[in-house]
């Protein structure tokens, strides 16, 4: 593995985007002198000045609303919500405005903004610091929802999100902010939004997942391989708009589907993926679809967190049970 962690990739992408486009503005709580509580914006203030790197008062609704105003004026604001658990006060601005501005003005005003937030659990963080409610945003028409699962994808997808003409909720799996490194060129190349990444090919079973769960899922796929079961692993990456085709093609090939996410089961985005398959690849299914997810309870405080998060063992077990259907 190479040199760059996921959080560094975020910083590189932000710096690159600010470098190439003077309309890119970074704002949020502690993004300036502090460089962000995870250091994702480190050095940007020094480099781009306080008109382009703006520490905000402690006001999430204002952060999102200010982004809407800036975006309508042709800027490309990248707002940071310090943790996803604090995005809820901004939901009104996101749902009622950011996602609709273009549509309600019939294209007169656009809203090319990005709202970044570290998300997910597994790092023994305090209460309210381990949320994964991506499904809420993936339901909202007019938004795009992107979740990178590796440094290179964080870099390429964040650049794409910033350059995108529409609002993007960009959720960064903080559990893997520094979990592993990759080597790639900081050359400004973006990845396409709106397509899945097939991280591992296989004919026997399809794993679909995103964010930090990629790690456990790839590990489970390794274990399955030892038993001669070849699992395909798909990183959804863009939840909205969803690239259902890649998933359907894989299920047509494997006939077995296990979806893995950290958010609670009921109403999680795994349901949407399962529903797409029940509509578009039903005849290919050799076994019931399985979802391995967080439970329908509140993310526990750190002492119990590991009971909540889908583990490799659970992910493996679901696959093995799925394989038992003839």
């Amino acid at each position: 593995m190479g040199e760059i962690t996921l959080v560094e990739a975020v910083r590189l992408a932000l710096a690159r985007a600010m470098e190439e486009d003077p309309h890119v503005i970074v704002l949020g709580e502690d993004v300036g002198a502090d460089g962000g509580v995870f250091r994702a914006t480190e050095g940007l203030l020094q480099r781009f000045g306080n008109m382009r790197v703006r520490d905000t008062p402690l006001s999430e609704s204002a952060i999102a609303g200010v982004c809407v105003g800036l975006a309508a004026q042709g800027f490309r604001p990248v707002g940071e919500i310090q943790f996803m658990g604090f995005i809820y006060p901004a939901v009104d601005q996101i749902v009622s405005h950011a996602s609709r501005l273009r549509n309600r003005t019939r294209g007169r005003l656009a809203c090319p903004m990005v709202l970044r937030a570290p998300y997910g659990g597994g790092i023994h963080a305090p209460e309210h610091h381990s949320e994964s409610t991506e499904a809420i945003f993936a339901h909202v028409p007019g938004l795009k929802v992107v979740i990178p699962s590796s440094p290179s994808r964080a870099y390429g997808l964040l650049l794409a999100a910033i350059r995108d003409p529409d609002p993007v909720v960009f959720l960064e799996p903080k559990r893997i902010y520094r979990a592993f490194k990759e080597d790639f060129a900081d050359d400004g190349s973006a990845l396409d939004l709106g397509r899945c990444f097939t991280l591992r090919e296989g004919d026997d079973l399809t794993y679909v997942t995103w964010g930090a769960m990629i790690m456990e899922t790839l590990a489970a796929a390794d274990d399955l391989a030892e038993d001669g079961i070849r699992a395909e692993v798909i990183d959804v990456a863009t939840l909205k708009p969803l690239d259902a085709d890649t998933i359907l093609r894989s299920v047509d090939k494997t006939g077995r589907l296990v979806i893995v996410h950290e958010a609670p089961l009921t109403g999680g985005f795994g349901a949407e993926i399962s529903a797409r398959v029940a509509e578009g690849a039903l005849a290919s299914l050799l076994a019931p679809v399985r979802r391995v997810t967080g439970y329908d309870t509140v993310m526990p405080l750190p002492k119990m967190e590991h009971h909540y998060m889908p583990s490799k063992v659970r992910i493996l077990k679901a696959a093995r049970e799925t394989m038992e259907y003839a």
Binding site: I25, M51, R52, R54, T56, P57, S59, S61, A62, A64, G65, V66, C67, V68, G69, L70, A71, A72, Q73, G74, F75, P77, P89, D92, Q93, S96, H97, R102, N103, R104, T105, R106, G107, R108, L109, A110, P141, G142, K144, P165, D166, G194, P241, L242, A244, D245
Partner: protein, 319 residues
């Protein structure tokens, strides 16, 4: 003001006859809209609530566009003229943070322009109102926040909305100046708004202006204010009707004659009538439009849904 009133009357009439959607008349509050709009420069940006049609029209939003919006057609917010102005804002108070954002854009570009947001007395109870003022104050943004205090938020009187004696004093919480002005006096409103706007333009930072007017109409055409408001209170306030007051003043200055008035009314009626004709003959938009403006580029999945909707509309001869 007369144009606004003529427009309002017609709009209510259209609603009553099923040709317009629920409508929020600005009867009695025309001086706020016009006083503010006339204090702005064209290159400033207006961020209105749903009761500032007067200001929108003054700034160049076409009467037909306003009718389309209230008639339930998104094309009504695709202003041909005021391309940077925000559309009508229905979720109360949510326009204020946008104004801070627009003002931040002006500040970042070093432009001498001002973002002017208008909301009601009820809007001052929203977190967004306060967060926006606070950010604007902290960043010293070129933004002006106008409160059109018509003394009612649907059925909730101003006195029940907040214990603050004035709404202007809410500015103090954000460290900015606040002023209260007679909202039925168009000249006073214009003056107060001008000071605030020019102050912001000159780098003096944001401020708040409370214009005290009165809602002479029901909240909207869906409301019946007699359920909660004494008719006597309303009739008393007719004495302060800003249109009549301006006429009295102009007449007293020998600056206004019966024939001026007839001409003006005639012109307004004519303009509104023409706009109504345009509106009624605007035809319906394409079904595809409900998909085509959501994103800059329609994602494949959505394009599929679009096809389905278009096909259904065609089948039912309604596309």
């Amino acid at each position: 003001m007369v144009l606004t009133r003529t427009f309002d009357e017609k709009a209510v009439a259209l609603q009553r006859t099923g040709r317009l959607g629920t409508y929020a008349s600005s009867l009695g509050q025309e001086a706020v809209a016009i006083g503010v709009a006339s204090a702005m420069r064209p290159e400033d940006v207006l961020l209105p609530s749903f009761r500032e049609q007067g200001a929108q029209i003054w700034r160049g939003v076409a009467l037909k566009e306003a009718l389309l919006y209230w008639g339930g057609d998104e094309r009504g917010s695709a202003f041909k003229e005021q391309k940077e102005d925000f559309p009508v804002c229905v979720p109360v108070g949510t326009q204020f943070p946008h104004a801070a954002g627009v003002a931040a854009a002006f500040q970042s570009r070093n432009e001498k322009r001002v973002a002017v947001a208008v909301g009601g007395d009820g809007a001052t109870s929203k977190g967004d109102f306060y967060e926006a003022l606070n950010v604007a104050g902290a960043w010293k943004l070129p933004a002006v926040f106008i409160i059109n205090n018509n003394q009612w938020a649907i059925s909730v009187p101003r006195s029940a909305q907040t214990a603050a004696e004035t709404l202007a004093q809410k500015a103090i919480a954000a460290g900015m100046p606040g002023a209260q002005v007679d909202g039925n006096d168009v000249i006073a409103v214009r003056d107060a708004a001008s000071r605030a706007i020019e102050r912001a333009r000159d780098g003096g930072g944001p401020s708040l202006v409370e214009a005290v007017s009165y809602r002479l109409s029901d909240h909207t055409t869906a409301d019946d204010a007699r359920r909660y408001r004494d008719e006597k209170e309303v009739s008393a306030h007719w004495k302060e009707d800003p249109v009549a007051r301006l006429r009295t003043y102009l007449v007293s200055q020998n600056a206004w004659s019966k024939s001026d008035e007839e001409t003006l009314i005639g012109e307004c009626v004519q303009a509104v009538g023409a706009a109504v004709d345009e509106y009624l003959s605007a035809g319906v938009a394409n079904v595809g439009d409900i998909f085509d403006y959501l994103y800059a580029r329609c994602p494949p999945d959505l394009a599929h849904q679009r096809d389905e909707a278009v096909a259904f509309a065609r089948e039912s001869d309604d596309g």
